[in-house]
Symmetry: C2
Subunit: 216 residues, 2 copies
């Protein structure tokens, strides 16, 4: 049975992992006969956003502790991730990716990547294993691997940023999966487009299928 590692960035679209993308990624993995374990970095979120008002809240939450809500408690610190135990790595999106796994939300193309996240990405690639990234997560691949073929959908400023980081952007719509064969990278836009939850499910199913197909 093929096994995915899934990296979460908190719990909630505006300051953490996008919940529909995370849930439907785990669902898509298991639906296609594979299994998964969930990881997140054990560090404070960049901030906490009230998802009703969009305003910042004067409190502090931990990325690992909040990600555990999506994982129902079954989650591990990203520092313990070892690609030898997995067949593939998958990163759902959400602003938490751009705020907690890197600082793309603040710095754009000048961003830096969380050291644990960078190590996870580099060690997975070095082991010759595929990496999938949904929504805004492909910016991580762009920063770490540079000249890669990816998609972040159609948003002009995000497209400009990944091109500035040396990547070749492919414009996509709902459910499309872009593959970089050389680096074994798979990307799909999900909520980088104005999508509904069924389209998110299709994106998750398609990227997981493409990754599983590449393993045969």
């Amino acid at each position: 049975m093929k096994k995915f590692a899934v990296i979460l960035a908190g719990c909630g679209v505006y300051d953490g992992a996008e919940i529909h993308e995370a849930t439907l990624s785990m669902w898509a993995i298991m639906k296609q006969g594979a299994t998964y374990e969930v990881f997140a970095p054990g560090k404070p979120q960049m901030h906490v956003v009230n998802h009703l008002t969009g305003e910042e809240m004067p409190e502090s939450r931990n990325v690992l502790v909040e990600s555990a809500r999506i994982a129902r408690g079954k989650i591990y610190p990203l520092s313990t991730y070892d690609p030898s135990g997995f067949d593939a790595l998958l990163l759902p999106g959400g602003f938490g990716v751009a705020k907690n796994l890197c600082n793309f939300a603040l710095k754009g193309a000048e961003m830096s990547v969380d050291p644990e996240v960078e190590k996870a990405l580099r060690s997975t690639a070095a082991a010759g294993k595929p990496i999938g990234a949904l929504c805004i997560s492909p910016v991580l691949l762009s920063k770490v691997f540079g000249d890669v073929r990816i998609t972040v959908g159609q948003d002009p400023s995000s497209v400009e940023a990944v091109e500035k980081m040396g990547s070749r952007h492919v414009r996509t719509t709902h459910g499309d999966v872009v593959m970089d064969e050389r680096h074994k990278l798979f990307t799909t836009p999900c909520y980088m487009l104005d999508a509904n939850i069924v389209q998110i499910g299709e994106g998750a199913e398609n990227i997981v299928k493409a990754i599983l197909d590449s393993l045969h």
Copy 2:
């Protein structure tokens, strides 16, 4: 297009709405050609649980504000719910149901129901519209409507509690949906069983399908 109202109880299995059940309910509604709006009561959660350790955290969170994470900000106070705008009402599970929508987690069969939740249930039933409840949510139907035919899966103490509240319990397994024709109630066990996320998706699809079929 048929329209569901979905009531959430926070964001996270141990103190709020169960995230997989909530997400896959919304997905199942839209997948079957219907649409939804999301509601939650604007009040403090009973408590906040660290989902990594299972321990209570010394902070306060609001049910509506946290539910907004699952709804991506598109959510309304339960006080504004009016069944005339909807074809059916759906309640995903999670301990938040037993802690924030009622106090079943503390009181068992002696529980009381949040007044806004009770009003939503009674007004929907009075309008002759169906109500679906996943996981532990059927205890609400048991308390409010009494002599109803429902399932909470197989857990002995939960079964005993709903029987004590005057309901007829049907023992079920993954994906089963129990219908009470007289009250137009639909229930399915989901994570009241030791289920995986694909089985949660099947439970959500089946209960939404049964409700939609009943509308034809």
